[in-house]
């Protein structure tokens, strides 16, 4: 491992790396106990900088936080990674509930987008980086859209689920899936926007070589009022050839 990467520990602890560099450093961190120790110490030092600028927020904020936590289910401990079974296929309007999983999904997308250039010198490969950043920016813009609405639905057998977040203003959306098994050999998952004019492909999920759950960005919502996922022959189809195993209403 190049000694140069060790010098990134400070910038990493202060969240001063861009996403590409952060992923690179985290890959290094996983196999460098000394760096982990140093980052932990730097986080503690940075926390002192924060405590020095403490300011009491309004009492209304306290009320809002306590109200929200009383209605927010806690994540299970990380050791038991059991799939979450939430209430059956109901569309959930609450935005903040889904903001975090979507941001986590965004991080996956960024990792994937950047994955192709990991391991190369940071100061080269500018154009690949620009492409990846553009993709990330699209997602970031979407997730911060003021009219972002989300909905989630489960597969017919209840084993997997999909969450969609759409902005009508931007005419864009992103679909993420959870607990989706690998597609059958020589087949792929395809997402469809379904409306009065029939189904229109939103794109292929889980392209070869990427982990299931990679978010799918799509645009052109049109008149679609449902979103569905089907199994299609490798490469996808122009029109669905199987019945959607996930199908649920788009958020309104």
């Amino acid at each position: 491992m190049s000694p140069e990467i060790h010098t990134l520990a400070g910038a990493y602890a202060l969240h001063a790396l861009n996403d590409l560099e952060r992923h690179q450093f985290e890959a290094h961190l996983a196999e460098c106990p000394d760096c982990q120790q140093q980052v932990a110490e730097f986080h503690a030092t940075a926390a002192r900088l924060a405590m020095a600028v403490a300011e009491q927020p309004s009492n209304q904020l306290r009320r809002r936080v306590l109200d929200e936590i009383s209605q927010t289910r806690q994540d299970p401990p990380p050791v038991s990674e059991t799939p979450r079974r939430s209430s059956k296929g109901k569309a959930r309007p609450a935005r903040r509930r889904w903001a975090m999983p979507l941001i986590a999904a965004a991080a996956v997308l960024v990792a994937l987008a950047f994955g192709v250039i990991l391991g190369h010198n940071l100061d080269t490969r500018r154009d690949e980086l620009t492409t990846a950043q553009a993709r990330y920016q699209d997602l970031a813009r979407l997730l911060s859209a003021p009219d972002l609405r989300t909905a989630t639905g489960q597969s017919v057998n209840g084993d997997s689920s999909a969450t969609v977040a759409v902005s009508r203003q931007l005419d864009q959306g992103v679909l993420t899936t959870a607990d989706l098994p690998a597609a059958p050999a020589r087949h792929t998952y395809q997402a469809w926007l379904i409306g009065t004019t029939g189904p229109r492909s939103a794109g292929l999920l889980e392209p070869a070589g990427t982990p299931a759950g990679a978010p799918l960005l799509f645009s052109g919502l049109g008149s679609s009022d449902k979103i569905g996922v089907t199994v299609e022959p490798e490469g996808g189809s122009a029109q669905p050839t199987t019945t959607p195993f996930i199908l649920f209403p788009m958020p309104t």
């Binding site: 910038a11 969240h15 001063a16 940075a46 926390a47 911060s144």
Partner: protein, 196 residues
């Protein structure tokens, strides 16, 4: 739900529980423990987020998100890997930076780019915060750094800048910023020592 008087942060609970102990209880779904933890963490979280974002309404929004995330993900906290304060403040800084680097945040940031020097960033801090030992110690330790170390750290941490932006703002090479951030943090760490 328990109703604790709001301005209790100076009165320790009868059991005098540390934030670490409280967060462990929060992880078990203890809302009363969260209410006791709230006054300990809300001020530092809000103060930090407001340093980075400037805008009070946005800062309250992000503070709320951070504190709800603290509640939601408390089971991931391990006292043996660091203090609860460090844990929540690392999360808060990450979220503030995420926000400032979002598209809108970026636009806002550009508007105030350039004009603001690192030293002024910290001076404003000291104007708005009541004098306390922590602040004095941090100020003393920051002033023991070289100018470039101090400016790099304050721009990155309080300003939410990437090290590339810091390099542009200070007109110094990227490699220099990397090492100054790290060396500055090492000095700060040694100067600040153990928390109070």
């Amino acid at each position: 739900m328990m109703n604790v008087a709001s301005d209790e942060h100076r009165t320790p609970d009868a059991g005098h529980r540390s934030p670490d102990d409280l967060l462990v209880r929060v992880a078990k779904g203890d809302e009363a423990a969260f209410e006791q933890l709230y006054p300990m963490v809300a001020g530092p979280v809000f103060g930090l987020v407001r340093r980075v974002l400037r805008n009070v309404a946005q800062s309250e929004e992000v503070t709320q998100e951070v504190l709800v995330e603290l509640w939601r993900t408390a089971s991931r906290y391990h006292p043996d890997r660091g203090s609860a304060m460090t844990w929540v403040l690392t999360l808060a800084h990450r979220r503030a930076v995420d926000r400032v680097r979002s598209v809108q945040g970026r636009a806002d940031l550009e508007q105030r780019a350039g004009a603001q020097s690192a030293d002024r960033a910290f001076d404003e801090v000291t104007e708005t915060v009541a004098a306390n030992l922590e602040r004095e110690q941090v100020r003393r330790c920051l002033s023991s750094l070289t100018d470039v170390q101090r400016e790099s750290i304050t721009l990155a941490y309080y300003g939410g800048r990437t090290y590339r932006e810091v390099a542009d703002l200070l007109r110094i090479p990227l490699g220099t910023v990397k090492t100054r951030l790290r060396d500055g943090l090492i000095r700060l760490r040694d100067c600040l020592g153990e928390p109070r």
